[in-house]
């Protein structure tokens, strides 16, 4: 090789090594529609120069549909705990290097050791919540402690519940002493009579905005997401209370995860670490009053936010996370459709 060629090659190699990153860095975020405030995204972009392209979804399954199609490559997604479990099983998530997320230590101890991702190897908790009972105490004078109290004949036509078959089924299972990990065909048949009694009492099924009929006075009781309940309590603190059912309540954990095939992994890690900062996480809580898993951020909350019993329930309630139930999900859907049709109009 001539000296000139060697020199040219060396120059080329050094040029490549010194070359700046190809294009402006970006992050493709696929998140729940209500979860990431624009101010957080703007702050992240200002600091790191990384543009955030955000798409949003209203259900885990919507997210999966677009994720699996391969139409776009996402760098970050926000699955709920039982979807994280399914994604891990299907080897769809990148294993996380905790060294790249120094602020992971801000996550509370109770979020480690959960069934879906015990060592947080694939997901980082973003927001946690519960599914519980909202009671209009001006209309319902007697104490309400659980599902059985809600689904009584005297409350016929005064109930709003989530339009989520899996949720509804697990509530019925809970009254029979069964947990969310026991959703099987046999158990579904077991709770069918319970649900057949319950569903005709419901006036509204709403997973998007159950706060509306509660605030409108169309219903007196509801089994809703804690974030919705927190908004209701914020609006009318004297009129409503939030109660976690004694038979057992769903604790959902929505986490950030990096799907395999993500193009901007570094940006994804940067974002995860960014939202784990207490002052950033606190901004998220401000907009969406779910339970913040970041214990450092909790210290920055206002007393009023901390006192909201829907966001931060007192006591030691019985909380259970959902598990990946596989093909039984189709049977769950059919059961509720059937009973809804029979009880409805």
């Amino acid at each position: 090789m001539t000296r000139f060629t060697a020199f040219a090659l060396a120059a080329l190699v050094s040029l490549c090594a010194a070359a700046p990153p190809a294009a402006a860095a970006e992050l493709n975020l696929f998140a729940w529609s209500e979860y990431v405030p624009q101010s957080v995204l703007d702050g992240f972009t200002r600091e790191t120069g990384i543009e955030v392209n955000q798409e949003s979804y209203a259900s885990n399954e919507e997210m999966l549909a677009k994720l699996l199609s391969g139409a776009a490559s996402y760098d970050l997604i926000q699955p709920s705990e039982y979807i994280v479990e399914a994604l891990i099983e299907e080897k769809r998530l990148l294993k996380l290097e905790h060294a790249r997320i120094p602020k992971l230590k801000n996550i509370g101890k109770e979020y480690w050791g959960q069934a879906h991702d015990p060592k947080l190897e694939y997901s980082v908790p973003y927001m946690q919540g519960t599914v519980g009972i909202v009671v209009n105490v001006q209309k319902v004078k007697e104490p309400v402690t659980g599902y059985a109290d809600v689904f009584q004949e005297k409350h016929r036509g005064r109930l709003v519940i989530l339009d989520d078959p899996l949720e509804i089924v697990t509530w019925a299972l809970a009254t029979q002493g069964l947990g969310p990990e026991q959703v099987t065909k046999a158990n579904l048949e077991k709770v069918r009579p319970v649900l057949a009694r319950w569903l005709p009492l419901v006036k509204v099924y709403d997973s998007d905005s159950p706060k509306t009929p509660l605030l409108n006075g169309d219903v007196d009781l509801g089994i809703v997401w804690s974030g919705e309940a927190a908004i209701v309590l914020q609006e009318e603190p004297k009129k409503f209370r939030y109660v976690l059912p004694k038979e057992g309540a769903h604790m959902f954990i929505d986490s950030l995860a990096i799907p395999t095939g993500a193009a901007n992994v570094a940006a994804a890690y940067a974002f995860i670490d960014y939202v784990l900062r207490p002052e950033v996480s606190r901004k998220i809580s401000e907009d969406f009053p779910y339970t913040n898993p970041n214990v450092e951020a909790r210290k920055l909350l206002t007393p009023a936010e901390r006192a909201n019993e829907a966001s931060y329930p007192a006591g030691k309630p019985r909380l259970q996370t959902f598990r990946n139930i596989g093909p039984v999900a189709a049977d769950v859907d059919k059961l509720i459709t059937d009973l809804k049709a029979q009880s409805g109009s």
Binding site: S33, E62, K66
Partner: protein, 257 residues
């Protein structure tokens, strides 16, 4: 007949009232103090001010306008061409083609969305304006076609023949005789197409990219957070702007016929 006409006119007034009642609420609540669109608490302009800061929402509106306009143009071309060609000529398989064009009207939006998404991925078409417009046109074009077909059903073929006899070429006859005759149907079809595209949600979810999010996607995304009055504000702004634009266009047209 005038008594009946007056009756019909009166009924039209009632129907218009019916149409505009929720709109009146919508506009009213855009000035509502409460963040939740539930009860009236007081008057404020803050939500209109919030619009100025809400780049995301405004961009979504721009995207919706771009998509709806492109969809309308394409649907009018496709629908009118389809209706006229199928009316004028007897094609082998013409009935099949007609049924095919109408098919997307019956296909549930989620299925249309998913299957078009799979198709786009298969042929390597990146999600963006093109994919959204294509998916919108598939179910808007039938509306134009139906409107134009209804109008064509009463078209006297003698009209076009007369034009040809008088020395017009077929394209000229089409342009100067058929199109003006079809204009009310084309306008009706365009209005329907624009309206449908503007409010389309599910199909758009599957065929849009992050940068091309439309207004319905943005608004539906905010349901859980609470439909704050800035959404009412942007709806109001858009309607006022469009009505103003159309009135101006009409006024200009009258001045230069």
């Amino acid at each position: 007949m005038t008594r009946v006409s007056r009756l019909f006119a009166g009924w039209t007034g009632l129907v218009m009232l019916f149409f505009y009642l929720p709109i009146a609420i919508l506009v009213l609540f855009s000035f509502n103090e409460s963040r939740l669109n539930v009860a009236w608490t007081g008057f404020t302009f803050e939500w209109y001010a919030a619009l100025l800061r809400d780049r995301v929402l405004v961009r979504a509106l721009e995207n919706s306008l771009i998509v709806a306009s492109a969809t309308t143009v394409a649907s009018v071309l496709l629908g009118t061409a389809g209706a006229w060609l199928l009316h004028r000529y007897r094609y082998a398989g013409g009935g099949l083609l007609e049924t095919l064009i109408f098919l997307p009207m019956i296909v549930p939006e989620v299925i249309l969305g998913v299957s078009l998404l799979i198709l786009f991925v298969a042929i390597g078409l990146q999600l963006g304006y093109a994919t959204i417009v294509i998916s919108h046109v598939t179910f808007c074009a039938p509306f134009v076609m139906a409107a134009v077909q209804a109008r064509l059903a009463g078209l006297d073929p003698a009209l076009e023949e007369a034009a040809l006899d008088l020395g017009a070429t077929p394209p000229e006859a089409f342009r100067r005789v058929t199109v003006p005759y079809l204009m009310p149907a084309i306008v009706a079809g365009a209005l329907m197409s624009f309206t449908l595209s503007l409010d389309e949600l599910i199909v758009t979810y599957f065929t849009a990219s992050a940068r091309t999010r439309t207004l319905p996607l943005e608004i539906f995304g905010r349901v859980k957070k609470g439909l704050d009055p800035s959404l009412n504000a942007i709806s109001t702004v858009f309607v006022v702007f469009t009505v103003f634009a159309v009135f101006s266009a009409e006024a200009l047209r009258r001045r230069n016929p």
